[in-house]
Amino acid sequence: MRNRCVSTVVWAQWYEYSGMSEEYRLKRESEFSWRIDPIGKMRVPGIIYADEDLIRGMDNKVFEQLANVASLPGIVQAAYAMPDAHWGYGFPIGGVAAFDADEGGVVSAGGVGFDISCGVRALRTGLTIDEIEPLKRQLADALFRQVPVGVGSTGRIHLNDKGMTAMLRGGARWAVEQGYGNAEDLQHIEEMGCMAGAVPEEVSARARKRQQDEMGTLGSGNHYLEVQRVAEIYDPRIATAFGLKENDAVVFIHCGSRGLGHQIGTEFLKYMVLAAPKHGIELPDRELACAPIKSELGEAYLGAMRAGINCALANRQIITHLTRQVFAEVLPQADLTLLFDVSHNTCKVERHLVEGRKRNLYVHRKGATRAFGPGHPDLPETLRAVGQPVLIGGSMGTESHILVGSEKGAELSFNSACHGAGRAMSRHQATKQWRGRALVDELAERGIIIRSPSMRGVAEEAPGAYKDVRAVVDAAEKAGLAKKVARMEPRVCIKG
């Protein structure tokens, strides 16, 4: 048995751009939990959940960024990093931090990121993979034709200002009212498909303009739509509750709030950078730009960011509708039902028990998934007994996972878990190692069909450019953040 709480690894911290050097001591608290004790301006410790290999593979910038987050005003308990953490902008990707408004807590545009409410949605198809295989190519072509994907693509829905405002207020609920999907879908989306507290008036004309032709588009980069096979069930009881069995075909959709979210992030980052001195906030990194929750700017951002969440929820709802149309045409016996929809880049008000007291906290998750355990009051009735599905998208051509939130997650990480594999190398490095066309051919030989408007984009997203997603979910499970339910393998991937 390993020694607990004794082994210490010292990581040399190198600040590439300032030439400074500092060391963060990582204390091993358990096999899957590491701690950075507060030093300097840190108000709380940093906690990282990972196994030793993942920790060694992490960019040192993760520890520096986590320490920076831990120094923000009003932070509660600790700054957390999930097993897939990597160097991000301000916050590490895979970072979680909660703030108390009554203790001068802040909301950070950098802590949410540019792609507000980027997330994953999983759909059951009512089909086994054997029913899909003979028509796989046809299905891939039809999905690629129907779902707008890649740079410069436009959706079929063009919103005027009034329509935009209604969408920003209503989210997926608005989309269902417009005929995209059904009311039952809303039960299986966080916030029941509509983020309360959205203030569309706080969304600028420029952000609206960036979105007017982008509703129902997938985007590019790491965004995708996949048809997958349930390859392995880890927990039959929970899998049954989620309506999954081996060899089922499922659909994963990964995308976010498109240009609107990016523009909100861009604008509020700058406002917050400029206003920081006025608010008496010393930023360790400009990208951590934040404002007190109880300030005009903090409230304005929350209103705009929530509208951005609704945009992402509406977007995934419209793409679901397009996917259903394609299945109805190619495989009419299919019945696409929503398993769940999770968001990765958000700040949400949640009640958590801290130091024996239930408090309303502003929980930032940047590249991290909310993971409510069984019995959580915010879960829909159908899921309350088992817990929230946690959808983990893997890299193209590898595998994705479904986990379920744990009770222990409440005290470990404000009910948060990992969100994906996390990049292991840069896009630039990836294009040096792989060619898009060769990758597509190689994956086709393994029965995985890729459709993408950009072969360079495919190379940048090569499976080998990502960390091992299985190591990430194993660490999440062993740390107690969530429990593994099923593993999926891709059969068709529409890539942005």
């Binding site: 301000g90 980069g221 400009r286």
Partner: protein, 126 residues
Amino acid sequence: MGLRGFGATPAQAFEQAALALTATITDLELVAPHQSVEIECEGEDRELLLVDWLNALIYEMATRRMLFSRFEVDIAGSRLTGKAWGEAVDRKSHSPAVEVKGATYTALRVAQQENGDWLAQCVIDV
């Protein structure tokens, strides 16, 4: 992804950073400088001005559905006036790899180096 532009003046370094921005999306030589767009921005300091300049380009690319391959920048005090030449994005000929979401304040630096050249760098979110 990180961008770096070098030049004899800050304005030139900004032009080079803009070229790097396009290079993250497609090959520069594939983009014909047919049509021009004028851009103005103002930043409280040189570094904020760089982020503003790149974000203005990202906005123009997104809303006009264009790519740019030639840039001209003039900086006077806190004010930047610029021009970008390019063409409408074509998925077949440009095969754009990524859509840039925004320029960030991470690794942001505008500074004169020992050899006298100016450096303009930051990380962009794609």
